[in-house]
Amino acid sequence: MGLRKIRFVVERDLRMFVQYKFMLIMRGIWFVSQVALFGLVVGKMVEAAAKAAGINYFQYYVAGVTIITLYSTSMFIGYDIFEEAEHGVFEYLLTLPVSRRELVLGRSIGGGLRSFVYLGPLLIVVLSLLGVSNPLHLLIALAGLFLFAFGVSGMSITIAVAMKSGDKYDILIGVLDALIVRLSTTMYPTVYLQQAVPSYATISQFNPLTYASDLFRWGTGIEGTFEVSPIVGVLALFIFFFSFTFIGVVFYEKRLEGGSWQ
């Protein structure tokens, strides 16, 4: 496997990302409104409960919104694939002297990396709001988030190539988005998920967003958020990354040929 070729694929995906400038602006507006309006007001509303759980809800929520942003920008790669299929660029990519494996690996890494590039400025704002108590913890958390972003890109590619239909992809991503974000600890601590509906808490334990957001909170030193060891968090994100990159490669290789994109 040629690293140079993978680098070319990654570079191409990074360049492609710029074409979403308005989408990115919109995500930025969403982020600001979530933090400056929703976070502040809901923080007031749940003040007592947050104190009982030993957390500062505003900080808790800001960290969660950061992970939701990372998740949604990593998912963009799937839309790129449909755009390419629609405009016939897919066939062009297949003619390039790059193996299928290099192509999907490059795309998965590119998809994750570009969401990190986008998140960079937001992360600076977030870290200035949250502060950093232990730089080593933060570095470990960021490494975990890299795995998470690559894994989400791999998942997006897997779903896109499995569906081969823009409409079906759109609906599945919409439903997945609605469930995966809400059934995680991005917006509320596990203890309240458990109190509300115990099965929600159980599902959230298998949700990569839970591990990513809890790990990020641990990395920034937000109190009382990580219920399992951070090592377990990193491990869970590694398994997520590995599974979807591997499944992505297999699916991509098997379903690339033959067109049938809708």
């Binding site: 400038k21 308005f22 989408m23 602006i25 919109m26 507006i29 969403w30 409104s33 979530q34 309006l37 929703f38 502040l40 007001v41 809901v42 007031k44 509303m45 749940v46 007592a48 409960a49 947050a50 409409d167 079906k168 759109d170 609906i171 919409g174 439903v175 988005d177 609605a178 469930l179 809400r182 059934l183 917006m187 509320y188 309240y192 998920l193 109190q195 509300a196 509906v197 929600y200």
Partner: protein, 253 residues
């Protein structure tokens, strides 16, 4: 009148072409109610019964998102120059504009109906006059939202600019309203120097629309005719803006 009905029918038929989008929207709304609201109910115990509080807000949220969809279609028509065909139809520009505006509003009402019925199941039934007032307020709100959406859609031929403007309007109207949280809590933002946002939240038609439903189904806040007036003023202003923008700007493209 017949021409307007044809345009409304055209928009209704188009609405069902976006079934995937609608399914996604329904999933998101239900997840908001049966997951997020249920969890927040645990976190706001003793302050507000969040599930009951949020249910009317959700109906207004659904109404907003579905009534706004007409703008996406009109912007697409402008970009693909389908509006030339529409302008060539044997009807006046004003009839066409009014038909589009009403079509957008009715689509919002159609989508919102199951959500409103869910409210009645969960929170209880209003009296007949209350029901009529709720439907009137929501219809006016849907027309106003459809008007905002059409005004933005015909003002730009760029889909990206439309999407960005839509994002700004969405988030401002959603988060700066009492859809998600009680007005009393929004007012605490004044202490942080965010008075303009608090003022906007007070006059936001989404605030008044959802509070009007709450006043009848939950008994709090108490009903005020100003709620209906606020929604009516919003509706009239943006219905006029949209009619003007659609008839004038569209011919310029």
């Amino acid at each position: 009148m017949k021409a307007i009905l044809h345009v409304i029918e055209y928009d209704f038929r188009n609405f069902f072409r976006y079934r995937w989008f609608i399914i996604g929207l329904i999933a998101m709304n239900l997840a908001d109610l049966f997951i997020s609201a249920v969890v927040f109910t645990q976190m706001t115990r003793g302050i507000v019964d969040y599930f009951r509080f949020f249910a009317p807000g959700l109906a207004v949220l659904g109404l907003f998102a579905s009534a706004f969809m007409i703008g996406r279609e009109i912007n697409m028509e402008v970009r693909r120059e389908i509006h030339h065909y529409l302008l060539s139809l044997p009807m006046s520009r004003t009839e066409l504009a009014i038909g589009r505006l009403l079509g957008g509003g009715f689509r919002g009402m159609l989508y919102m109906t199951p959500l409103l019925l869910t409210n009645f199941v969960l929170l209880g039934l209003p009296t007949l006059p209350q029901l009529l007032l709720i439907l009137l307020a929501l219809f006016l709100l849907a027309i106003g939202i459809s008007g905002v959406s059409i005004s933005i859609a015909v003002s730009t031929t760029s889909f990206e600019k439309f999407v960005t403007a839509r994002g700004v309007v969405y988030y401002l109207f959603f988060f700066c309203s009492s859809v998600f949280y009680p007005m009393a809590i929004i007012q605490t933002l004044e202490a942080r120097g965010l008075t303009p946002l608090v003022r906007f939240a007070q006059i936001n038609p989404l605030t008044n629309g959802s509070d009007l439903i709450r006043s009848f189904l939950l008994g709090s806040p108490s009903f005020s005719p100003l709620m209906l007036l606020d929604v009516a003023v919003f509706s009239v202003i943006f219905a006029c803006c949209a009619t003007f923008a659609y008839t004038k700007i569209l011919m310029r493209h």
